[in-house]
Amino acid sequence: MKKALVMLMVVALFAGVLGFTPVRAAEGAIVQITIGSTKATINSKAVVLDQPPLIESGRTLVPFRFIGEAIGAQIGWNPAKKSVSYVLGNKNIVLTIGSVTAIVNGVKTTLDVAPKILPTGRTVVPIRFISESIGAKVDWNATTRMVTVTVAAAKPSWSTPIKIVLSAPFTGSGSILGTYCKGGAQLAVDEINAAGGVNGAKLDLITYDDQANASTAATVVRRALDSDKAVAIFGPNMSAAVLGVHALAQQAKVPMLVGATSPSLRYDTTHNDYLFRLRADDGVKVAQQVKYIVEILKAKKPGIILGSDDYCTSALAVAKQAFEKYGIKIVDIESMKEGDKDVTAQVTKLKNAGIDVLVGLTHEPEAAVVMLKVRQLKLAVPIVGFSAWGVPAFTDLAGDAAIGVISVQGFNPADTDPTVKKFVDAYKAKWGMEPSDPAQCYYDGVYLLKKAIETAGSTDPVKIDEALKTVEYTGVQGLMKCDALHNFTNICYISQFNGKTWKVISKIP
């Protein structure tokens, strides 16, 4: 008892003299020593050794206690067997003084150099063997004669599920979108959980119906924050709903990853550090649409059919600017209201204005109304529609009238890229239907979140938020990386409808 107490005091003193406290394993460490010098650093902090490291038969030997404590292992000393042991995580190493045989996790291994007791009375051990056996990295700089041991942070393992919430419309004007949002997110969650989860913890996806409505979305987001304690929120998917709720996420300091595409959700407008966008925004898409019209179709006299709500008018603003940059004058803009079912006069005027391309900036049903009229009145120019013109909600209504329509899309399931194909196949297998925009962005989003949690090494929403700003992830939409506008991607497709599928004309970037 007394002996043990003395021992303890000696160890304490010893540690005090050396001036370092053992690091916590979870945090990782970088240990640097120089041959022949008692000066060393642990995580850039200077420490002094009582015995300088030495080289013997090409191997660096260091004091056994120093290396053990520096890397955060538990150290054991058996005076009877003259053996030294290190335990770190699930690794167990036993060395015996004067013996080249070591036991790592019960398996015998042979050392190049045996541990030994120096004439000074210090016990030294081979640093490379110890370090590599417990999974650390060892670098040798021959010119500075410095050894760097890098101990990676041990992966934390959480037992409780990580809660994430999806707010998407299942009823209301955007109901089909909710199905896609959930389809994409759930697929990613299930894949991740089947592969062992995030650091051992399962993802738990809770889905709510926000009815594409700002006030319902606010209720959903409050519930996600207050009672579900979600670490991140996916959606809402409707721009107007996001505008109404993103401040809630900001206040609660919980990241919100959305597939809403209004340019007004860019970081330079919102200044919300917790709001991220998972697919190309409308401004980007319109710019690409115009670029295609001018550079590829070589159109000179564009005519526009325009819907009346914010989605349409903000697209018009971008389109006007883009055409202006090319020095091209829009020859005619005809408006219609959501719900209008006759556009005979509008299409007649566009036709008589001599347009050489029709730019469609409307929602899906209006796009169908326009196309039926275009076919009836035989307006024979290329039709290049905005994102609403590139989804089934339009082609289902327009039927054959949609054949030949070119559209700028956020996603095209017909893309032959292997990552896209893998996603499309998995989605079809799971849900029995083809994915459509925005399924891919929530799928990518969940994987992004996984990576951010792993990088943060924490499920603290604030830390996840920080990590989201720096992580890179290559998914269905290519490289995803948060830019200055908090957009993860600008990917879009220019595609043409052939009556069944959308043939990719070009994929940008």
């Binding site: 299942f170 209301g172 719900g339 079912k341 006759d342 006069a345 007649t348 039926l372 909600a393 054959d400």
Partner: protein, 297 residues
């Protein structure tokens, strides 16, 4: 602007105008029968279209069965309107205004119900009146085949309604009930029955209109409110709320005004211009544009 463009626009305006008129007929009928304006008038069009879609496209019943069952349900709905909306209001001493408020809420209610049950995305209507992209070519003018159906049904409905209200005993009983319920009962008219029939006929007319218009409007929430509902009322107002023929002509005028104001002025002012015309008509001839015979009392 060439002649064919003009004709093409007249056809477009007339067709859409006829749809407004058709919806207006439901308004006229109820007014003629019980002097009430059902602000959920247009809901019957949406409900019928969705019912038909359910029976025809989802349950694969034949056209005739799907049509008859849908309209029967819509007629029953009309009866329910009477017993669950009109009568309770009357019992509690409510009048026209209370009915307006109740039916306004009903209109929103049905929109939400359909949204919840079918989602908000417009669905394609089965091509029972011909493919949407099948056009009849007459010279340089091209007319979608469904337009002919619309013209035909509008014509038939107007005639039937006109004869019913003006020429038959039951029609006169409807009108007598509308003008003075107590007196109607004193001359031996079963007011309960005429009221029920009026509701059922009103919802059925609009229901038929809904199915007929679905190829143009799609199976969508647009059939349950919005422009068509408002313009249906406008058409009915142009018919002085009593004249089926005037209502159809009123609807046609609105359709044509919309087309021509887009064509000759600007599409951006289309609704403003139609609205101004409507207000002018209301001020100038409050009892309907085609009502030349009577003076106000």
């Amino acid at each position: 602007m060439v002649l064919s463009d003009l004709l093409q626009n007249i056809i477009g305006g007339v067709t859409v105008g006829a749809t407004y008129g058709l919806i207006g007929l439901g308004v006229v009928f109820l007014w003629q029968s019980i002097e009430r304006i059902n602000f959920a008038n247009i809901s019957s069009a949406m409900l019928a279209a969705y019912l038909f879609y359910t029976f025809y496209t989802q349950l694969h019943l034949g056209f005739l069965v799907a049509f008859v069952v849908s309209i029967a349900i819509i007629a029953a709905y009309g009866l329910a309107l009477r017993h669950l909306v009109l009568e309770p209001i009357n019992r509690h001493g409510g009048d026209k205004l209370e009915f307006v408020v109740a039916t306004l809420m009903l209109c929103t209610f049905w929109l939400s119900v359909v949204k919840v049950l079918y989602g908000g995305i417009a669905k394609p209507f089965p091509p029972v009146f011909g493919e949407a992209t099948s056009f009849v070519q007459i010279g340089s003018i091209s007319i979608p085949s469904v337009y002919f159906w619309i013209f035909f049904v509008v014509l038939v409905l107007v005639l039937v309604l006109y004869v019913l209200l003006q020429r038959t005993m039951i029609g006169k009983m409807f009108r007598a009930t509308a003008q003075n319920k107590e007196m109607a009962s004193l001359v031996g008219i079963n007011v309960g029955m005429t009221t029920s029939l009026a509701f059922m006929l009103s919802t059925s007319i609009v229901g038929i209109a809904g199915i007929l218009l679905a190829p143009i409007y799609f199976v969508s929430l647009d059939l349950g409110g919005g422009p068509i509902g408002v313009k249906g009322f406008a058409a009915a107002v142009m018919g002085g709320l009593i004249d089926p023929l005037g209502t159809i002509l009123g609807g046609l005028s609105i359709g044509l005004i919309e087309n021509f104001s887009t064509l000759f002025i600007s599409s951006a002012y289309k609704d403003v211009i139609s609205f101004v015309v409507l207000v002018v008509v209301l001020v100038w001839k409050p009892r309907g544009i085609f009502n030349w015979t009577t003076k106000g009392d």
